[in-house]
Structure formats: structure tokens, C-alpha cells
């Protein structure tokens, strides 16, 4: 076939969809179908970068930690306490306090036969401990910021695996949306700074593009690494083929984390040697504040082992680094500081997602760019309705698909802000001694969220947006007031004490309240453009004046 023939054939071919067009369609579908779930994942993920601070705020009974307590002493105290409350536990693990946490979170495996541990199934106990006394914290029962964190990748009210599968599916759709979005964005460099205001759909598109492109490295990274963190669930076949014996499984686990696994207990009791000394040895090796976690197996038995693991700050990898000690004697058995190349790759990707390595500025950068990503999803969802509203044959009676998207948008975006703030209100208002208090804070979150959906369906759409945005603004603005009234840590006190966790929380609430108020005002002020008048009716001063009405 000659070049001329090819060219002629191409010219004669009916104008079809180019790759940009098809990618645009793919982008819209992928974004829309999972948009509401992705928005929730993005927003809860964003706030999770400050989940430790949020947890502190949600346990106001725990005093502000002005100085970091000696990690070695803390480890000893909590180890003693765990020995008392969970004797015979095959494995316990504690996370030492750092600059962002003022309690020690620990979990332990129930001894076989213990209440709640069904035969064959592993049951865990968990609690937060006071670093100064070693005892369980005497603060209100709450999941703290960990609720948003866990919701982010496994939601709630469903088996954990289902939640993670849904999150994974949403993330895969997100990846498709990112790649198709980049392909379809025609003038990604020329239009880098473009914003055309007051132009309806075009303005929404410019905003969506800006939010997406500026944060593109982050959005692509966070989506891909999110999938990597649960890759063993989504693509298990390699592991299933390669790892067939328990010994191989132990080797694999050692490459992934510092949770050393217990062997068979020897049966002879032997008290644990000084955990404080073990931690001090680790501090000598890695730094004063560099110890993150202490795990023990078969504590109190002659076969006990203790692993002191390095903290996550300052290195972009979650691959385990730990010093392994013999439990009864305290002798250093092994120092593990390297893993294989594949495991290290996974460690780096996992670390990038969690962002725990960063200093305060880096954490704030993560938070702000993640917020941009949340807005990216939100603007995309809203843009869908803005674009199609113009094309409705009868704007008073849109088709069912449009109505569903419109109402879900309101509840998933504005409604989520209301629900998340209601969760914090619940933390301050629910009685301290209430049974299952932590669970009821969560029930409140979902109840309010469901109410916002009902509100979104029952009210006219535009009114629902405005009312929910104002509700969020009000709840956020009044949260510092509620805090001042229900605790002894009001804003002025926190600032005076340089308690930046509480002060920061109050100030953040006020800033977010202002943001929601601005959104509510702009929505209220927005007057939809008059629909284009057909050509024969236009003309003369009146028709022309309609065009001038735009500022």
C-alpha cells in the first residue's frame, strides 16, 4: 500500500473518536462510578496524616506532653504492665511515644484458651497506656484518629477484607482516572496556570485541572502506593506459589515487619530481663529518639525473645530494622538492618504512602497536597452535574441518573464534613462512663451522615448544598467553643502552654469553618446563567443586554 493510498483512506474514514476523546469518556466513567467512595477515602486519608494529634485531642484527660519521657523507662513500665494483664500471651507489641503521641498503644495476642480466643483463631487485645505510670490510660474510651485512618482503607460495619477489597477497587479506578486524565488533558503545560472565572463548567474544569496537575506527583504516588500496601491481598498468586512452608512464611514475615513470631513455649518460667537496657542499646545504635517499637514473644517463658525496632522517622522505608534480644538474659542475638531488594522496594513504597518519615513541614505538605487531591475528586463530581445540567431537556425534571449523582454529591461532599465534625462533637458530648462509648462515637458519625443523605434527597438540591455547608461551618466553628466548655483546655490555655496539638486543632477547626462558610456563600451567591436564547428571539437591546449581564 502506498503512502498516498493510506492518506486517502484516512481522509475518507468517518471522523471517529481520537484517543483524547476515548480517554475522556473513560476518565469520566471511572471517576464517577467510584467518585463518592474515593472522596471519602481521600478526606479521611488526609486527616489521618494527623491521626496521632487527633487521638490526643480526643483524649483530653491525658496531659499535654511537654517533654518526651525516657523511652527506655516507658518501655519497661508498659512491659511490666503487659506481663501483669496478659500473662502467657504468646506475643505483645507496643509503640513507644514520640513527639506526636502522648500514650503508648499496645496490642497482645490472647493466650490459647483465654476468653474470646476461639480455638484456631487468633484473638487480640489492645489498649492505650500512660507512659508515666505504665497503667492503662484513664481517658474516655475512644478510637481517636484511628477511626478515620481505619475507615480510609477498610471502612466500617463490614468484614475487614470486604472493606479492603472495596478500597482496592476504588484505588484501581482512581489509577485509571489519573492516567486517562493526563492523556485527555490536551494543553497540560500551556494551561498550567489557566483559570477562567465566572464561566460555569469551564471554571470548574480549570479548578479541577489545577488541583490535579499541581498535585500530580502526589496523586499518582498515593494511589499506586495505596494499592501496593495491600498488594498481598489483591495479587496473592506469586506469594502463594513461592511460599509453601511455615519456615518460608517466617522468612517472608521477617522481610516485611518487626513482629517477631513466637516459637513453642519451653514451659519454664523465666522473668524478662531489663527491657529498658535493651532499648538503651538500640538508642545507642540509632539515636535517642529513634526507637519506635518493642515486641516480645513468649514473655515470661524461657524461650522469650524481644525485638526492639527502629522508629519510622527520618528514613523513607518501612522495611524492618530491629535488634533481637534473648528474653530471660537480655543478650543481643541479632541485629537486622537490611532486607532484600524486592522487600526494600515495597518498604519504600509503603513508607511513601504513610508519610510517617517526615518532619513537621513535610507532614503539612502531605496534608495540604492530599487536601488538594480531595478537592480534585470533589470538583470532578460537581463538574459532572454542572456540565449535564446545561444539556437537560427539562431542567425542572432531570432524569434519574442526574438526580442520583446530584444528591449523592451533596451527601458525600458536604455531608461528610458534617458527619466528621459530628464525630468530634460526639467525642466531647458522649458521657465518659458510657458502655461501648468508642463504638457509639462511630455510630453517631454514620447516623449523621445518613441524615445528610436524607436531607440531600428531601430538600431542593441548591438549598441542600448551602444548608449542609453552613451546618459544617457552624459545627466546625463551634467545636473550639465546645472544647473550652467541656474540657479544661481551651484555646487560650493551649497557646499559653505551647500545647500545639490542642491549639492547632482549634485553629484548624476555625480555618475549615471559614472554608466551608466561603463555599456556602459562593454557592448562595451563584446565579445560574440564563439558558441560551434561541437565535431568532435574540437581537435588539433586550437580547443584547442579557449577554452584558455577566461580570
Amino acid at each position: 500500500m502506498t503512502t498516498d493510498n493510506v492518506k486517502r483512506e484516512r481522509a475518507q474514514r468517518p471522523a471517529g473518536r481520537g484517543i483524547r476523546q476515548s480517554m475522556s469518556g473513560l476518565h469520566i466513567w471511572a471517576g464517577l462510578l467510584m467518585g463518592w467512595i474515593l472522596y471519602a477515602m481521600f478526606l479521611t486519608g488526609t486527616v489521618s496524616y494527623f491521626k496521632d494529634e487527633l487521638s490526643q485531642w480526643m483524649r483530653p484527660e491525658l496531659a499535654h506532653q511537654a517533654e518526651l519521657p525516657d523511652p527506655a523507662l516507658v518501655a519497661q513500665r508498659v512491659a511490666d504492665e503487659l506481663g501483669a494483664i496478659a500473662p502467657g500471651s504468646p506475643q505483645w507489641s507496643m509503640r513507644l511515644p514520640d513527639g506526636r503521641t502522648n500514650s503508648v498503644y499496645a496490642f497482645w495476642r490472647m493466650a490459647p484458651g483465654e476468653a474470646g480466643a476461639a480455638p484456631g483463631r487468633r484473638a487480640f487485645g489492645e489498649a492505650a497506656f500512660d507512659p508515666t505510670t505504665g497503667g492503662k490510660v484513664t481517658a474516655r474510651e475512644t478510637l481517636g484518629g484511628d477511626f478515620f485512618y481505619r475507615f480510609h482503607f477498610q471502612f466500617h460495619y463490614m468484614p475487614v477484607l470486604w472493606g479492603r477489597w472495596i478500597a482496592g477497587a476504588a484505588a484501581m479506578f482512581m489509577l485509571v482516572a489519573i492516567v486517562s486524565g493526563v492523556i485527555t488533558h490536551k494543553k497540560i503545560f500551556i494551561d498550567f496556570f489557566t483559570f477562567r472565572g465566572g464561566k460555569g463548567q469551564r471554571s470548574w474544569l480549570d479548578a479541577h485541572n489545577a488541583l490535579s496537575v499541581f498535585g500530580l506527583p502526589f496523586h499518582a504516588m498515593i494511589t499506586y502506593t495505596g494499592l501496593v500496601t495491600l498488594m498481598a491481598l489483591y495479587m496473592p498468586w506469586g506469594e502463594r506459589t513461592a511460599i509453601t512452608t511455615p519456615a518460608e512464611r517466617q522468612q517472608l514475615t521477617a522481610e516485611l515487619n518487626a513482629f517477631i513470631q513466637p516459637g513453642k513455649p519451653g514451659g519454664q518460667t523465666a522473668p524478662l530481663a531489663s527491657v529498658a537496657d535493651m532499648v538503651r542499646q538500640a538508642q545507642e545504635r540509632w539515636g535517642q529518639d529513634a526507637v519506635g517499637r518493642v515486641t516480645a514473644t513468649n514473655s515470661g517463658d524461657s524461650t522469650a525473645r524481644v525485638a526492639v525496632a527502629r522508629g519510622e522517622a527520618g528514613r523513607v522505608s518501612m522495611s524492618p530494622q530491629y535488634m533481637l534480644f534473648d528474653g530471660p538474659t537480655g543478650r543481643l542475638l541479632e541485629t537486622r538492618e537490611g532486607v532484600g531488594a524486592a522487600a526494600e522496594t515495597r518498604g519504600v513504597l509503603y513508607a511513601l504512602h504513610l508519610g510517617r518519615f517526615g518532619d513537621t513541614v513535610t507532614r503539612w505538605l502531605y496534608f495540604l497536597v492530599s487536601l488538594m487531591g480531595t478537592a480534585m475528586v470533589g470538583t470532578g463530581l460537581v463538574m459532572w452535574t454542572v456540565k449535564r445540567r446545561q444539556k437537560l431537556s427539562d431542567p425542572e425534571r432531570p432524569h434519574i441518573g442526574f438526580r442520583i449523582v446530584e444528591r449523592l454529591n451533596i451527601a458525600s461532599i458536604a455531608g461528610l464534613s458534617v458527619a466528621m465534625t459530628a464525630f468530634l462533637w460526639g467525642n466531647r458530648l458522649l458521657p465518659a462512663g458510657m458502655a461501648d462509648r468508642g463504638a457509639w462515637e462511630i455510630h453517631l458519625f454514620f447516623a449523621v451522615w445518613a441524615l445528610t443523605l436524607a436531607h440531600a434527597v428531601l430538600r431542593p438540591a441548591r438549598t441542600a448544598w448551602i444548608e449542609q455547608l453552613w451546618a459544617a461551618a457552624a459545627l466546625l466553628a463551634l467545636l473550639p467553643v465546645l472544647n473550652a466548655v467541656t474540657t479544661d483546655r481551651p484555646l487560650w490555655h493551649s497557646v499559653a502552654e505551647a500545647d500545639w496539638v490542642f491549639a492547632g486543632m482549634d485553629l484548624m477547626c476555625l480555618s475549615l469553618a471559614a472554608l466551608h462558610a466561603v463555599l456556602a456563600l459562593r454557592t448562595a451567591r451563584h446565579r445560574p446563567k440564563p439558558r441560551a436564547v434561541p437565535a431568532k428571539a435574540r437581537g435588539g437591546v433586550i437580547g443584547g443586554a442579557l449577554e452584558e449581564g455577566r461580570s
Binding site: 496556570f193 489557566t194 499541581f214 506527583p217 502526589f218 505538605l365 495540604l368 497536597v369
Partner: protein, 105 residues
């Protein structure tokens, strides 16, 4: 060091913004000469590479690259919002345009 890096990123993106035709129209009412646009692009890119170098030297490859990504994303957003603010302030300052349709016949 973070503050310095962020400030330099702001300057770099401001230069790159000024090098785009649309922003030049919005801010100056006319496109700048080609040479100025080239210079702005080179300067903007150069400063950004400088920031990368500073961060890599300060924190190493892992942390440095992540911090660079964060600073650039945020700085781009800030410059973007500033450009919107400047453009709308400029529009408000101008007297309302007289259009043919509203002129008395």
C-alpha cells in the same frame, strides 16, 4: 531551610507563570517580548533545580525528593491563587466597559 526552599519555589513558579501568554495578557494587557519570556522560563526552571539541589544536599535522596515534590506542588497552588487574585483585582479596578448594545441609538 524549608522556608527558603518554599520561598524559592514560589519565585520559580511566579517566573514560569509570568512566562505564559495568558497570564501576561491578564497582568500586563499584552504579551511580553519573546526574549523576556525565554528568560523567565529559564530562570524559573533554574531556581527550581536549585531548590532540588538544596533539599537533596540537606536531607539526602529519599527525604529530599519527597520534600521537593511537596514544596513544588504547594508553591504552584499558591502562585495560581495569587494570579487569580491579581487578575480579579485588576478587573475590578478597571471601569466597566461600554458595549455597543447598551449605547443609546
Amino acid at each position: 531551610m524549608h522556608l527558603l526552599s518554599f520561598a524559592l519555589c514560589l519565585a520559580a513558579f511566579a517566573a514560569l507563570a509570568l512566562a505564559t501568554e495568558r497570564q501576561q495578557h491578564d497582568l500586563f494587557g499584552r504579551p511580553l517580548p519573546q526574549a523576556a519570556t525565554h528568560l523567565l522560563r529559564i530562570a524559573g526552571t533554574g531556581v527550581m533545580l536549585l531548590v532540588l539541589g538544596v533539599l537533596l544536599d540537606w536531607q539526602g535522596w529519599g527525604l529530599g525528593l519527597v520534600m521537593f515534590s511537596g514544596h513544588t506542588s504547594l508553591a504552584a497552588g499558591v502562585v495560581f491563587c495569587a494570579a487569580i487574585g491579581l487578575a480579579s483585582a485588576r478587573r475590578r479596578g478597571k471601569p466597566a466597559a461600554i458595549s455597543p448594545a447598551s449605547r443609546r441609538v
